[in-house]
């Protein structure tokens, strides 16, 4: 546990990884979500998809061993696991949109209680870039978000309605934050787990929408990483 009583990104990624079934086909968003791959529970092996055209890629190669024709969607060099496959972009997004992926895990600027996600653009300035996020959120059987519970300024990221441009409508079903695990059900945030160190009142104060209690709230317990 970190000193300021919230999970590190690695710990959030670890918690999300515990829900991925053995043999699941999984797409991890660029950046922080890529960490999820490191924390698969022993005995479980997911198959990772990268939308530029590889199934079952492995860890990064050693420095100096990179092959720049063998990269992931974040343009980082990867390796292949035995049984890997290459395919073109239309096949890759057929896997996505066609409902063949079990899980997509993405980052977020905002998540609304109705499952709307905003994660591609903060305002109307600068150069917009979307990549595959809008396809992923409407394709995978389960779309989860991993995120700090609030912004760096302390503003809630879990909100009643997104104010940033949307990536997808009603698409997120589970949110793993630095403080809690929540399911989105019937347009509400249902609290499933929270850090023992934070009170319900404090957690609610850091959340921009009502936290619904439905059944027991488990303790969110994550190893030191």
């Amino acid at each position: 546990m970190t000193s300021d009583n919230k999970l590190t990104n690695a710990q959030i990624a670890w918690r999300a990884a515990q829900d991925i079934e053995d043999g699941a086909y999984v797409n991890l968003g660029i950046g922080f979500p890529e960490m999820v791959a490191q924390y698969q529970p022993p005995g479980r092996q997911a198959v990772f998809h990268t939308e530029n055209g590889i199934l079952d890629f492995g860890e990064a190669p050693a420095e100096g061993e990179e092959d720049w024709d063998l990269i992931n969607a974040g343009k980082k060099a990867v390796t292949l696991n035995p049984g890997a496959a290459f395919f073109h972009h239309a096949d890759s997004f057929a896997m996505v949109r066609g409902g063949h992926l079990d899980v997509a895990i993405l980052g977020a600027y905002q998540i609304a209680q109705n499952g709307d996600l905003a994660n591609w653009r903060i305002g109307s300035r600068g150069v917009p870039a979307v990549g595959g996020a809008m396809d992923l959120v409407h394709g995978a059987k389960r779309v989860a978000v991993i995120t700090d519970h609030t912004t760096k300024n302390g503003d809630p990221k879990l909100v009643e309605r997104c104010t940033f441009p949307l990536t997808g409508v009603g698409c997120v079903t589970r949110v793993y934050t630095s403080l809690a695990v929540l399911d989105i059900e019937n347009s509400r945030f249902v609290l499933r787990e929270k850090l023992p160190a934070i009170s319900m009142e404090d957690l609610q104060a850091l959340t921009g929408a009502e936290l619904v209690l439905e059944g027991p709230v488990e303790e969110l317990r994550v190893p030191d990483l």
Binding site: W68, I71, A90, F93, D135, L166
Partner: protein, 235 residues
């Protein structure tokens, strides 16, 4: 039948001002650097370029933009490790951007090559990238109508080609290649090796030669990412 052309410049000699050009590649993987640089040397302008990205560093598509040859960029992710060329042109209002979700971009190109003028996708529904596009419900879910995407030319990097135009690709450099080959009026391919017909096992052909018009052999092609890391510039 022999679709081989002796030189890069001859292979693209009929690309003119105002052309719409699909360029293969995702990041540096599959970027046909030699063909792009041959195009840059022709100094034709007002181009519309279709690619997943919008150039990196001072080479390839970024060099076309730096030279002021590109009027419009059609892409999903105009960012890279060094996106100066596009960013500066875009913020100065010198270049148009049509931003398309990556899977929609791929499917629009596929549809263009497959003779399908429009299709419906759940992607981008309810977002600003679907504004103004027709929406229809199928089995209770809303879908956005998207149109095919075609081009005058496609510039593609392959690993091995035969003289009939059958192609294989190298690893994740395949990305948009097979789709773009089919969606362009004229498809120009640079291949690391060109072999006689029969030199590629038919079971291993990824792009059938019917989608390819011209091939140029470029042995030991440059790799965009490696060039970027070396700080290369063009010209």
């Amino acid at each position: 039948m022999d679709k081989t052309i002796a030189s890069l410049s001859a292979a693209i000699s009929d690309i003119g001002d105002g052309a719409t050009i699909m360029i293969g590649g995702f990041g540096g993987a599959g970027a046909p650097i030699e063909l792009i640089h041959a195009l840059a040397e022709r100094r034709i302008g007002d181009l519309t370029i279709i690619n997943n990205n919008a150039g990196n560093g001072r080479i390839g598509i970024a060099a076309l933009i730096d030279a002021g040859l590109v009027r419009k960029m059609v892409c999903s992710f105009p960012r890279s490790s060094d996106p100066r060329a596009f960013t500066e042109s875009y913020l100065a209002g010198d270049i148009e951007l049509e931003l398309i979700p990556q899977g929609t971009l791929a499917e629009r190109i596929r549809a263009g090559g497959a003779g399908i003028p429009a299709f419906y996708t759940p992607t981008a529904y309810g977002t600003e990238l679907a504004e103004g596009k027709p929406v229809e419900e199928f089995d209770g879910r809303p879908y956005v109508r998207e149109r095919w995407l075609k081009a005058d030319f496609a510039l593609i990097k392959a690993e091995t080609g035969d003289t009939h135009g059958n192609l294989t690709y190298r690893k994740a450099a395949r990305n948009f290649g097979p789709l773009m080959c089919a969606a362009a009026q004229t498809t120009v391919v640079q291949a690391s090796t060109i072999v006689e017909p029969g030199g590629i096992d038919p079971e291993h052909v990824i792009t059938p030669g019917i989608f390819v018009d011209r091939l140029v052999e470029v042995t030991n092609p440059q790799q965009e990412e490696a060039l970027i890391r070396a700080g290369a510039t063009f010209p």
